[in-house]
Every structure is written in C-alpha cells, then in structure tokens.
Subunit: 429 residues, 2 copies
Amino acid sequence: MNLKTYQNMTRDELLKEKEALEEQYKKVKEKKLNLNMSRGKPSSEQLDLSMPMMDFLNGKSDMLDSEGNDCRNYGILDGLKECKDLMASLVHTSPENVIIYGNASLSIMYDTVARSVTHGVNGSTPWCKLDKVKFLCPAPGYDRHFAITEYFGIEMITIPMREDGPDMDLVEQYVNNDPAVKGIWCVPKYSNPQGYVYSDKVVKRFAALKPAAEDFRIFWDNAYCVHHLYAEDQPEIPEILSECEKAGNPDMVYEFFSTSKITFSGAGIAALASSKRNLDFIKKQLTVQTISYDKINQFRHVKFLKDAEGVHAHMKKHAAILRPKFQAVLEILEQELGGLGIGSWISPKGGYFISFEALDGCAKAIVAKAKEAGVILTGAGATYPYGRDPKDSNIRIAPSYPPMDELVEAAKLFTLCVKLVSVDKFLAE
Amino acid sequence: MNLKTYQNMTRDELLKEKEALEEQYKKVKEKKLNLNMSRGKPSSEQLDLSMPMMDFLNGKSDMLDSEGNDCRNYGILDGLKECKDLMASLVHTSPENVIIYGNASLSIMYDTVARSVTHGVNGSTPWCKLDKVKFLCPAPGYDRHFAITEYFGIEMITIPMREDGPDMDLVEQYVNNDPAVKGIWCVPKYSNPQGYVYSDKVVKRFAALKPAAEDFRIFWDNAYCVHHLYAEDQPEIPEILSECEKAGNPDMVYEFFSTSKITFSGAGIAALASSKRNLDFIKKQLTVQTISYDKINQFRHVKFLKDAEGVHAHMKKHAAILRPKFQAVLEILEQELGGLGIGSWISPKGGYFISFEALDGCAKAIVAKAKEAGVILTGAGATYPYGRDPKDSNIRIAPSYPPMDELVEAAKLFTLCVKLVSVDKFLAE
C-alpha cells in the first residue's frame, strides 16, 4: 500500500503511478462489467424478507378491517385505522396526525408542493400567483427532492450540511427574514447521501423558527426513520410535530415516510404526518383527487408487520443483509484510498448511502471513468440543486442493490477511478 | 294501480292521494331504514368474484415479469408490459399508447388537469397564467369530474346530453370558436348517470373538432368500456384515439379507464391512453412525481384477468349480479310510477346508474324526503356543474351496492317520495 500522499509525489512518481493505474484500469475494462451502484434500491435478498406478507391475504381471507370496512371497496380516504396506528408508531406521533396514501412518499411530496402551487397553504396565496418562491436545499441532498422544486420553478438555495444537520444559522437567516422562502427539504435521520443524523439542538432550532412567510413549511422526509445498520447504535431524533407544537409552530411541518425500504420498494405504503389543521386542508383537496388509496395493501401490511415492534424486528433482518455490504465498501475505500489524501467518506449508522468527497473538480471525471468501465454511479452533481455541485466533489455510493461479489468489484473499480482522476489532477497542476 | 295522471286529478283527489301516501310514508319511517343508493359501488357479492385473484401471488411466487423485472422493486415508471397489453386491449388501442398508474383513474384525471394548470399542455401556457379557462360539461354528468374542474377554478359550461351523446352543435360552437375552452368531460359509453352510448356520428364529430385552443383536450372517461348488462346487446363505440388521428387531431384526447369495477374498487389498476406526443410530455412530469406505481398489483391483475377475453368472461359474472338489481328497480319504477306522468327514466344497457327525471323543481325535495325515511340517494344537483341542476329534476339512482331485499325496499320508498313530492307540487299550483 502506498502511504505517500499524491500531493507529496514528484511528477515522475505521479507519472509512474498513473502508468500502473492505467494498466489496472485496462484490465478491468476487459472484464466488460455491467454493475450499478447508482440508486438506493434494496436487493432481491432484502425483498425476499417480505415475501411472507404475500401469504397474509388470500382468496379466502376476510377483507373487513377492525372497523368493519370492506378493504376491497371504495372509501376510507385517509387510510385504515390500524394502518394509521402502525405508521404513526414508526415516527412516534399520534394516528390522528396521519394520512395513509399510495405506494410512494415521493408522490405525497410532489402533491404537497403541487397543491401549494395551485391552492396555497391553508388559505395563503397560491404560489403560482407569487413572483418568487424559494426553497432551502441542504446539500449534498436527495436529487428527487430537488427535481420536484425545480419542476415547479421554485428557486433553490443551497444550505451546507454539517455533521449535526443543515447550517442552522443560515437556515434561520433565510426563513426568518425572507417571506419568499416557503420550504426546506430535510432528511433528518441518515441524511441522503451522508447518513448524518440531525442533533437534538438542530431539530429544536427547526421547531423554533420564526418564518417570515405564514405558508413556510418544513418538508421533513423521514425516509430512514427505522433504517439502522447497527443494533447497538440506533440514534433517535426528537419527534418533530410535537417539537413544533411546543415551540408555538403547530402547523409548520409536513412529515413524509413509507415502507418502501421496509417491505417492497415498488409496492409499499406511504404516509404523511402533520397537524390537524394542515390535514383538514389537505383532505379537502384529496377528496377531489381520489376516492381512496389501496386499502388491501394497507391491510396486508398491517397483518404482516403488526406494530412498531414487528417493524423493528423486520428491520434487523434488513440490517443483517445491508451491514456487510456497507462494511465491504468502507473497507475497500480505506484499503485503497486510506492515507492518499485524495478523498474522504463517512461511515453511516443507517440509511442507504455512503457519501464520498473527492478532490475538488474530480467527481464528474470519476463517475465518467467508472461508467466507461461498466460501473454506473449516481450522476455527479445529482446531490446538489440543479445538478450542479459547485466543487464537483461529491459522489453518492449506493451499496444496497448489487450482490456482494459485484459490489466488491464495483467498489474496487471506483477507488481505481478515484486514483486515476486524482493523479491526473495533480499532473495538471 | 292508479292510471289517472296526477295532472288530471281534481284538488280533492290529490288531497286524498296525499293522505294515503303520507300514511304509507309514516309506516315506512317506522321501519327506521338505513339504506344507501347513492354511489356506484359494487356489492360484496361482486367483489367476491375477484377473490381468486388473491391466490395468484403468494409467498412463494416468482415476482419477475415477462421482461425479467422484479415487480417488488422500484422502476418501470409507466407499467409492466403485460399490464399495458391487457389494459390497451380493453379500449382497443395499442400498448404504446398506455401508461399504467395506481388504483384510481380519478387521480389520473386530477393529475392531468393539475399538470395543465401548472405546466400547460405539451408546452402551451400553463392554465394558471391565463385569465380564463373553461371546460364543457355534458350534463347530467359525473359529479367527481365537475369537482376537479371546480377545484381548479375552471369555468364550467353545461352542455345538454342527448340519447346519442352531448349536443354536438353546441360543443362545436364552443370548442371551435372559444380559445378559453380547454376541455370537455365525456363518459362515452354508459354515460354517468343516464347510461347513454355516444353514437358513431357523435364520436366522429368529436374527432373532427377544430379547436380554437391548441391545448384543448377531450377528457374521455371510458369508465364503463366493458361494463355491459346484457350479453346479447353490447354496444361498441369507435376507438377515439385512432378516430382523432384519422381526423388530423392525433393529440386531442386523454382516455381514462380502470379495473375499479372489474376487480376491486379500492384496489384496482387505472390507466391512461393517449398519443405518444402527449405521453412523452406526461412522462416528464411523472418521473418527478413518482418512481413507479404498484407493479405487484399490476402483476396480480394480469395473472388473474389474463387478456380481454378473460375480462369479458369476468364481466359476465358481474352482469349476472347487477342485471336483476337494475331490473328490480326498473320494475318498481314502472309499477309505481308508470302512467302517472310524474317522472321518467332510462333503462340502460350497461354502466352503474339509472337516471330519473322528476317533475321540475322536485328533485331536491324527493332526495330530502327519502333521506328523512332512511334512504340515501345521490344529492340532487350533483349531476350538474356546481351542484346546480337548473330544473331541479335529475336524480341518480345507484342500484349496485345494496342487497336485493334492501334495494327493493329503497326503490319502493323512492317512488313513494316521488309521488308525495309531486302531489305537493300539483297542490301548490
């Protein structure tokens, strides 16, 4: 292992290193790999964990819920009672604060923004009638959040992410002073992609915001609320709805979550948690948009997962599959790049990603180089608003989907690309 | 049976009739009925027909579709290939013209209007930036259509319904001359509530419209495309996409349909059919709104229904349950009201409703009277834009949901209320 950092190498040493790396790269290319580390998709093995759910309802099942409603028919706009109980328990709120939707929390977020654009927030001026609407976007962040705000022409303001959450000085400065700032995207636990967990202090500062805009809302995407990697280290964050209420901001948050990475990614249950006043306004729209969501799937989920305890037991099985994959990638990163000074990364305690910081100006080139050799990574820049990473340094690694052998191969190729591009950078300086 | 029309009765005869009717009404009220003929919901017996579908996937099933995609995971935004094949066959179009959505075609309609409001149609000015947007609403029509347009502040213009479809002279006059007219709601086969079937001529006149607005679209809700009541009499209408294409208007129609009244009303499959150009624009939005819809449910549906033939065989079983209910109501109407000159109705060949025309100014009073005696009907006026029936005469009867004995009781009570309110009307004249 070369312990000399690239920065300290002479030009000749760099050229020699480059030659060796290119030889390795050539050999990998000859393997004609076709690997994908781009999206936070569960593996087949993980999906298999929920196959028993498919046996909980069959052709002979009684399809009446605990209140006697026929799950097969129209009705029950906001979800089965028992499903609200289950979902509420995952984010430590009350079932009255929950609406159960269809299979995707992303759709709830989209709809929530769309409704605000056309109808405002609880009676405020529709955003489409305003000259300017802005959202704060802690970054690196989730590309699909940014895609929603961009689609609706909302100006995105990048907020730097810290280990304990977004830069709250900046958040307060914007939210408390600029009435055009209407929202902020948050993934509070196991942030996407860094896996950071918001500190209690950060959560409480969120709850205590004094928004200049009455229709400012926190878009709290609690996607990984129960998605821990280690049994012995499961951070919890303060419950955001009650924190906001305590701070005198009862209506300030929309919380989104789902079972997409608990049961089936394509066929789970998604939910929204918010204040009664917010939900009342939303239901007025929802009743125009649909008659009801798929209650059979809600019913099936409740029968399988049962309660929060059932979910936590189930999530341990996911962790048992995911943990070795995260560890394998982290080991390869350490082994291949440790001490070279050409990149840094974070070892997350949960979630679906490892965030890699390359040298400035190297991310795009690394992703391109990996692609050339048959390994697809999340597009460089995707973790920033408008797909523009100002330093061109962040790369999101998603270890969950590939089988272990492919993952190891892909991770090794990745580190090779990091080295190659970094050598080039130093040679060009 | 009294064959003398109320109109020809003397005041004394009317008073006597009223007394007798009120005696009957009092007796019915004592039964404390709790019956519902308000919504087009399938009965439990109908839902039972699809219970075998629940056995087509279980914990041991292979969850890969015909193209090798894992139905449990993210992806396949526009639906499984085999599901597109199935759904396309129901409306006689090609699978390339189809997107499979979630469980409700109503949501697709809502989304289609919402997207036009915020982003226009294939690049046109977003409707929210226009001073005035109008929709034509053939009426009597479907209240949930009108609710969508009303929610988005779209001005609704009532178009009278004829036996062969909407008044096309009026439709052409509006669409071809007024650029603010952006859409029309249509239920072309078994119109809601009258059960009318658009004639070939009407469909072709639709296809041949020359809209003043480039972003005018026909919202073709083909909800009852395969929902016939009689095996020997199953009207077909020309396929609207190809008709529009032939007439030089390839992008003029959005067609909506679902399996809500084929399998499970709350947990079926909904689809949109349109031109490639329209679908391309829509997919750009859809990719922001969701990752994919529930493909497990799509998969289950395909395994159960198989193909158009499978669907038609299945629909015969629905008809066998529905037909006697429609016939029972129609018989009671004839028996109790035939020849009295106080109402008229249509015997539909399919769909979910019987449309009743009371004497002018009587619908609200009849619905209120029925409610007082424990029978819920669709709110009077609901079949017209803004809930305002100008003549206060149309009542939608939904015979599908109640068991036969309750249905008979409800229908009898309904006719009693019609008589009571009509007598009052004549007495007041």
